[in-house]
């Protein structure tokens, strides 16, 4: 009788150990591009420009019509007729729209000058440390020419030269 109870208790223990050990090693492992950790970055993936919210993955038709006519636009088809990429150029940013089938989504946003800031108040020309203090150190990759924050397929990349930001890009990489 006691033997069976002992058996029950030790199984309870094993079960407890197994289930709570689950939570620690729940971390995703980085892709092969040297992305070390991918904690939840506190960075957001949209920009406000001319009081229009432009977000990665958003429906492009609404955004483009809200922004009014672009300075210039260029669209190029993929080989094999699989979708087209269109670049819309505005005064201080460029938007790349990927259209495949019936859906058109914002695939990439490039900030050209410091007239536009990221929600974390960083802009072209800011210093590298300003980026880190504003966006935190949850970056997925850091080299001397770039800092990248990643969440799923959305990325925010700061291109650097001699410690200052020369380019800011929001990219989608599926």
């Amino acid at each position: 009788m006691k033997r069976i109870f002992a058996l029950l208790l030790c199984f309870l223990m094993i079960f407890a150990v197994v289930s709570c050990s689950k939570d620690e090693n729940e971390e995703e492992n980085g892709g092969d591009k040297g992305i070390t950790t991918s904690q939840k970055s506190s960075v957001s993936f949209y920009v406000n420009y001319k009081s229009v919210k432009i977000e990665l993955g958003a429906d492009a038709k609404a955004v483009i019509s809200a922004l009014g006519t672009a300075k210039s636009s260029l669209s190029m088809g993929n080989c094999g007729g699989l979708g087209t990429l269109t670049k819309y150029v505005y005064d201080s940013l460029e938007i790349y729209v990927l259209a495949s089938g019936s859906t058109e989504t914002v695939d990439q946003i490039t900030l050209l000058d410091d007239a536009v800031q990221t929600p974390e108040k960083v802009s072209v020309g800011s210093a590298k440390d300003a980026v880190i203090s504003a966006c935190g150190n949850g970056y997925s990759k850091m080299t001397d020419t770039s800092i990248t924050y990643t969440s799923g397929s959305k990325n925010l990349k700061f291109t650097l030269r001699d410690g200052t930001v020369t380019g800011i890009d929001y990219l989608t990489v599926s």
Binding site: L74, G80, L85
Partner: protein
């Protein structure tokens, strides 16, 4: 009892035949203008053998080099085994397959696809791999290319993948059920349209310019394969450079460094466009993303001289059987070009 087994076998046979027929209906025919690139890979088998130069690579290879011009001007017999967004491991396995049929003197590989280190897109995989005949190379190519949503059995039985097209069949699906029309000239996909390139600004920033280990691995395998068979491996980058397909400096550095280290010749035609005489207002059909037939002929003529003088590819126009075969191909080439 025997009667029952007979009926079962007959029934299974009928079902298989029906499914086989339905499969020919639903698989994409790649016959209309926008998707004809899907037929390129399968057209090689009709002309397999007798080539001194083989080209492998993505859309930049099959829109830039014209085998007909190489033969006409330099007597070089060549074939372009390109396909849309052909990834480096697909190029390797296609080359491996072609070496079962022939051994060329030189293989030309367009390096643009090295920026992709992982499987990219299911439709492109299908366009490249479905055209291949079943071989160990094809099996390896499939396993190396499959994205998460794909499974091997859908390559063995394409009806499992394309069955949803049953409700979107067009007259082409019935017309070409038993064979799609020929779309290329020895692998070159002729484009006679003209749509000038006006935007020469720098292409869009990319997340990461570092070429991945997986891409290097297959480039090394290709180099080893060529060395093994005494073939000269030539790396090229087509002269086209646009917002959508921009050849970033970081890529150029890594490739030229690789070429030096391994004593491979590497020609980046972007800076040479002027010397080749390419005029971006007449020589492209899609705003500079790819050359049209006029641009491709200029580039091929330029590259033909390099092949014959620097690499000693012989002039084979004296070979009767070869020139006879090429006369036929030249005729159909000019028919479409000037037609």
């Amino acid at each position: 009892m025997k009667k029952r087994i007979l009926i079962t076998l007959a029934a299974i046979l009928v079902i298989c035949l029906l499914l086989a027929f339905l499969q020919t209906l639903v698989i994409p025919k790649y016959a209309d203008d926008k998707t004809k690139e899907g037929s390129l890979v399968s057209e090689y088998y009709a002309e397999a053998g007798g080539h001194d130069v083989l080209f492998v690579g993505d859309c930049e290879i099959y829109e830039s080099f014209v085998p007909a011009v190489l033969w006409e001007k330099y007597g070089i017999s060549s074939y372009v085994r390109g396909s849309p967004q052909q990834l480096v491991w697909q190029s390797y396995y296609l080359l491996e397959e072609m070496l079962e049929y022939e051994t060329p003197n030189a293989v030309v590989f367009n390096v643009f696809s090295l920026k992709y280190g992982e499987p990219q897109s299911e439709p492109y995989n299908r366009m490249t791999l479905d055209g291949m005949r079943w071989s160990s190379s094809k099996i390896d190519a499939i396993n190396a290319s499959m994205t998460d949503e794909e499974s091997f059995i859908e390559y063995v039985f394409p009806i499992l993948r394309f069955h949803s097209r049953i409700t979107q069949l067009t007259s082409q699906d019935f017309k070409y059920a038993f064979g799609s029309p020929k779309v290329s000239h020895s692998g070159y996909l002729m484009q006679t349209g003209v749509d000038p390139q006006t935007d020469f600004s720098k292409g869009r920033t990319e997340l990461d310019y570092e070429i991945s280990d997986n891409a290097w691995k297959y480039l090394d395998m290709m180099r080893a394969l060529c060395e093994e068979n005494g073939i000269e491996l030539i790396l090229v980058k087509a002269p086209t450079n646009t917002m959508k397909y921009w050849w970033h400096d970081e890529y150029e550095e890594q490739i030229s460094e690789y070429a030096e280290e391994n004593r491979l010749s590497y020609y980046n035609f972007i800076p040479l466009a002027g010397e080749i005489g390419i005029d971006w207002s007449t020589d492209t059909y899609d705003k500079g993303a790819h050359l049209n037939v006029y641009g491709a002929e200029k580039l091929t003529e330029y590259f033909g001289r390099i092949l014959s003088e620097d690499f000693g590819i012989e002039d084979r126009r004296t070979d009767a059987s070869l020139s006879e075969a090429w006369d036929v191909r030249l005729e159909s080439y000019y028919k479409e070009r000037n037609g």
